[in-house]
Amino acid sequence: MKTLKVILHYSSNSLQQTLSNLPVLFIFLFSKIVRYGMFIAFLYLLFNGVSSVRGYSREQMLMFYLVFNIIDTIGQLMFREVYRFRPLVVSGGFDAVLTKPFSPIIRSLFGGPDFIDLGLLVIIVSVAVYIARTFIHPTPVQTLLFLAMIINSLLITTAFHILVLGVGIITFSVDHLVMIYRDLTALMRIPVDMFTDPMRSLLTFVIPMGIMFTFPAKVLLGILNWQLILISFLFGVVSLFLSLKFWNYSLRQYQSASS
């Protein structure tokens, strides 16, 4: 309860900060809407020339893209503070985080959510719901499983960000790891099936981008078998467990050298 209260406090501070600079908020919001809008326009254009891509229809491809954006945007919204972690470690400011009676990992993950992405999330979810209702018609079971898969994807996203924090403590650098993660996720704007092996297997089971972004959409479309659904959940739990182990290990390596 205390943790939730503090997270809400962080969120409130961050929201006030975002609202204090409205022109910046609108510029970024506008740019991101344009970015998504143009990719969707490209998919529409593409399907004017072809009837399907690897067996997927226009609406299915659109669903993959929207689900990718939902998960990606929630990740960016929640874990923005990870992008600011390096200066905290380099300056020794992380000492202050460690001495407070509050979990340093929660502080480092949820210390500054980015509310610019919230408006965007509302738009993407609305479009996704419209497309799903109009063209996909998922069953209630598919919808529930889809929501569970989204939560599972967020577990893997959390695990990855914890890994980044741990690496940050050990190497004093997180920027590139985060950016490579962002570029790897950007590959998933299209379903993982579009990649040929060994790239496809690598992106599914080694760097679990396929599990995170493609599998939830496939569940919604009713084309993912139960074995892969189970593997996905297993992956989510194990990755979070291992990342927490790594975080504890990295904390023991922290030397507070800059303070």
Binding site: N21, P23, V24, I27, F28, F30, S31, K32, V34, R35, M38, F39, F42, L45, L46, G49, V50, S52, V53, R54, G55, H176, M179, I180, D183, L184, A186, L187, R189, I190, D193, M194, F195, T196, M199
Partner: protein, 266 residues
């Protein structure tokens, strides 16, 4: 001129100091190309001809994007100029006998050279893995025109992005906003995901009045011979006009910005 050559030399060496940074940056560029490559590869798995492009032509286009964008869009100035204005570091340059924008243009060109070298290496590596057939025009005139346009486009890119960053003179706490918007438009409208002649004709006609298609699409279309020499010359003149106009506007804005500049970050 000599001092800029020195800046070029030092900047080139400087890129080797942060080797890991550079390699990871290049790795990220390859990742971006892979998405486009596999998307089009999938599209052509069940279609032999899409929008008048064969699979070979389209994959060649995707591969050439890697090379052209490495040259045109490699610009460390974009990550630094805004910060130097907002934190007052610009002062260091204003009191030195060196043109600030020319200094950064030189540094950008050093970075472009290194990026190009790596892009050629990555291109070869990807070619060895995927073996796409690369079409290039056989006409030396056509190839020369393509290269000339790439050089002009890189100058337009430099000026347009500095124009966007110059908002930092008035809003020092926001050095990235307008720049982000331009890069978002460039993502699709420059032609890095698909060749722009897939778009309806009216949109391409409209786009030629913007800098976007000159960055990637036109240079590649000329290099692969999709645009003939006569049209290529016209496009080069258009790009020169665009360069002149954007240069004029940028200089006006930059001068006004310098008048407004108060080194508040110091």
């Amino acid at each position: 001129m000599k001092k800029y050559l020195t800046v070029f030399g030092i900047s080139f060496q400087n890129e080797f100091v942060y080797r890991l940074n550079f390699i990871l940056w290049r790795f990220r560029n390859v990742l971006r190309t892979l998405m486009t490559f596999f998307l089009w590869n999938s599209v052509f798995s069940s279609n032999s001809n899409v929008f008048g492009y064969s699979k070979e032509q389209m994959l060649a286009y995707v591969f050439l994007v890697l090379i052209v964008s490495s040259f045109v869009m490699a610009a460390p100035s974009n990550d630094n100029v805004g910060g130097e204005i907002s934190d007052g570091t610009l002062n260091n340059f204003l009191i030195k006998p060196i043109g600030y924008l020319r200094y950064w243009l030189t540094r950008d060109w050093a970075s472009k050279l290194l990026n190009m070298l790596f892009a050629v290496f990555e291109f070869t590596l990807l070619w060895l893995i995927f073996r796409p057939q690369i079409f290039l025009s056989h006409s030396p005139i056509q190839l020369s025109l393509g290269i000339i346009l790439i050089i002009i486009s890189s100058l337009i890119f430099f000026i347009i992005t500095k124009l966007a960053i110059s908002t930092a003179f008035w809003v020092p706490e926001n050095t990235w906003g307008l720049m982000f918007t331009i890069l978002v438009f460039m993502e699709i409208l420059a032609g890095s995901i698909f060749p722009l002649d897939l778009l309806p004709k009216s949109i391409i006609t409209l786009l030629q009045f913007t800098p976007f298609p000159y960055m990637i699409y036109y240079p590649i279309a000329i290099l692969v011979g999709r645009i003939d020499a006569q049209l290529a010359v016209r496009i080069i003149f258009q790009s020169l006009a665009l360069l002149a106009v954007s240069y004029w506007v940028a200089m006006k804005v930059w001068k006004k910005g310098l008048k407004n500049y108060a080194a508040v970050g110091i």
